[in-house]
């Protein structure tokens, strides 16, 4: 399938013309014309596919023949994959990687204590009229009190108050969560009559964002580092298997095997290692999930919340398996390519 084959073929034809009459008819068929060119190409394509299939199977059989050693290799790969994957899942579960984070960026407009419901409605209208306001939500003094009580658990103390000390407030979701834009919107809203104060819940949004960015980067860095680890594990294993099949490689190179041909079984071995490691990693993640589920659930319950550990969904699993397979393949490629140059037929 290699383009470089073409000039060689012509050479082959030249060599072959020396054949005497004893040559079988098949060999003598003229090899010119578009049609024979096409059949030759398609037959070579078939041969190529055939070799891929047979090497995929052959390397799988070799893998199964030594289950313990190969399982250990895959386990090493799995462990390298589990760490970054688990971190990623944790971040995901904390919604730190979620786009919904932006929803939590709000401004709270506190009205004057004296403002009544009619005034509040008018102000809300005015707020809504602002270009950069996406939506608003009015929180009456009673609602505010109820939330406050719930948040603090100070029912008794607050129940003792004669008057509700809380003003009516309006929660504003801005169009843009850009800090400067929000600050500007706050200034505009503060100027409206009947508005006492505008609070921008910017600081914690920013903090959360930075945290998310930090987590993302740590996960990616760990992923890259452990991905490199997978490359090394596979590379080393393949290096040993190239070494143990050195004689075979020398022989096939003596009789005209291309590098691609020699490389192929090892690439498939690498891909199998990667895939096996990926599957084991999924198992480990599942086991970890199972192991932690109970304490996490009781912990969440003690806070009156319901929270379940995140599971890797179909997309996530597919990504993990593809990554591990590609890493295995790549590790094998690096190892074989590096090694083949040192193998010369005797």
């Amino acid at each position: 399938m290699r383009p470089s084959a073409t000039p060689k073929r012509q050479k082959g034809a030249a060599l072959k013309t020396s054949r005497s009459t004893a040559k079988p008819a098949v060999e003598k068929a003229p090899r010119r014309g578009a049609r024979s060119q096409q059949t030759r190409f398609s037959s070579r394509l078939r041969a190529w596919g055939r070799h891929h299939r047979s090497m995929a199977w052959d390397s799988f059989v070799r893998l199964v023949r030594y289950p313990v050693g190969n399982l250990l290799t895959m386990l090493a790969i799995a462990i390298a994959l589990v760490l970054p994957a688990a971190l990623w899942l944790t971040l995901d579960s904390a919604r730190l990687l979620d786009a919904e984070l932006d929803d939590s960026a709000t401004l709270t407009v506190y009205l004057d204590l004296a403002a009544d419901d009619a005034q509040a409605l008018r102000i809300e209208e005015a707020v809504n009229a602002e270009q950069s306001v996406l939506e608003t939500q009015m929180i009456s003094a009673e609602q505010g009190m109820a939330e406050f009580q719930q948040a603090l658990g100070l029912d008794d103390v607050l129940a003792g108050l004669d008057d509700n000390p809380l003003p009516i407030s309006i929660v504003v979701r801005p169009e843009s969560v850009d800090p400067a834009a929000m600050q500007q919107l706050a200034t505009t809203l503060e100027a409206l009559t009947g508005v006492d104060e505008v609070r921008v819940d910017l600081a914690w949004v920013e903090r959360l964002r930075n945290l998310a960015e930090l987590g993302r980067r740590v996960a990616l860095a760990l992923g890259a580092l452990f991905g490199l680890g997978v490359l090394l594990v596979v590379g080393n294993t393949i290096r040993l298997s190239v070494e143990s099949r050195r004689r075979e490689i020398e022989v096939v190179m003596l009789i005209g095997a291309t590098h691609a041909f020699v490389r192929r079984p090892f690439l498939y071995s690498g891909a199998w290692y990667g895939l096996g490691g990926g599957l084991l990693a999924l198992c480990l993640l599942g086991m970890g999930n199972h192991w932690l589920a109970l304490p996490v659930a009781s912990l969440a319950e003690s806070y009156g919340a319901s929270f379940s550990l995140p599971q890797l969904n179909v997309t996530g699993s597919t990504i993990l398996l593809s990554c591990s397979t590609i890493l295995g393949w790549l590790g094998a490629w690096l190892a074989v390519t590096r090694h083949l140059s040192s193998i010369r037929p005797r």
Binding site: R9, K11, S18, R19, S43, E248, L254, I255, G256
Partner: protein, 222 residues
């Protein structure tokens, strides 16, 4: 078919394995290459197989200066040459059948066609009944015949052999040589390196004699 033009080969700058080699081998010829051990027979064959490049001069095979071949073309060049090694170079974890079919597998020959050709080659060397055996179960002479079957299975125009009768008794050696003559009779160019002078003298083919890397005699040339 083969032309050596002022070929010299040095190893490590000092040691001169071959020097001033000039000769031609015509298509369909059968040639013996002889000389004491270390005379350069193997080096010469390695040059033709393009396992090495000459330090000087040109090695031309079938009209092509093979030193000019790009590394990626070399495998395709080697497929045109059948080689029989003194130590057989068989794969011991595969059956005789699979050993012989290896060149066809490398060339991507369709399995049914390959099986047909493998059996034809094994039949030719008289080992068709052992196709399922492993090389280790065979005698030295039989292993050598498997090596020959593998060398001829893709019908090369050029057949090289390096001491093919090295470890065999006279009767087996004569049988092996007779096999080579059969292939030569159907038009294959054959070049055999051997120091079994008594045997090759009986066979009445051209003999190239090497001594210390030089061609000292070219006997029986046509």
């Amino acid at each position: 078919m083969i032309a050596f033009e002022h070929v010299g080969k040095r190893y490590g700058g000092r040691f001169e394995a071959l020097a001033h080699l000039n000769f031609r081998v015509a298509r369909g010829e059968m040639v013996f290459l002889t000389g004491h051990s270390g005379a350069g027979k193997s080096s010469l064959l390695r040059l033709i197989m393009r396992l090495e490049k000459p330090s000087r001069g040109r090695v031309v095979v079938a009209g092509h200066d093979i030193a000019q071949l790009h590394a990626s073309q070399v495998p395709f060049y080697r497929r045109q040459i059948g080689v029989v090694f003194q130590d057989h170079q068989l794969l011991f974890d595969r059956s005789i059948f699979h050993n012989v079919s290896l060149p066809l597998e490398i060339q991507g020959v369709e399995p049914r066609e390959a099986a047909r050709r493998v059996r034809a080659a094994l039949d030719k060397v008289g080992l068709l009944h052992r196709e399922k055996a492993l090389p280790i179960e065979l005698s030295g002479g039989e292993q050598q015949r498997v090596g020959i079957a593998r060398a001829v299975v893709n019908k090369p125009a050029l057949l090289l052999a390096d001491e093919p009768t090295g470890n065999l008794d006279p009767q087996l050696s004569a049988d092996i040589m007779a096999l080579f003559e059969d292939f030569n009779r159907i038009g294959t160019t054959v070049m055999i390196a051997s120091h079994d002078l008594a045997l090759i003298a009986r066979l009445r083919h051209r003999i190239l004699r090497l001594s210390d890397g030089r061609l000292v005699a070219d006997e029986g040339a046509v």
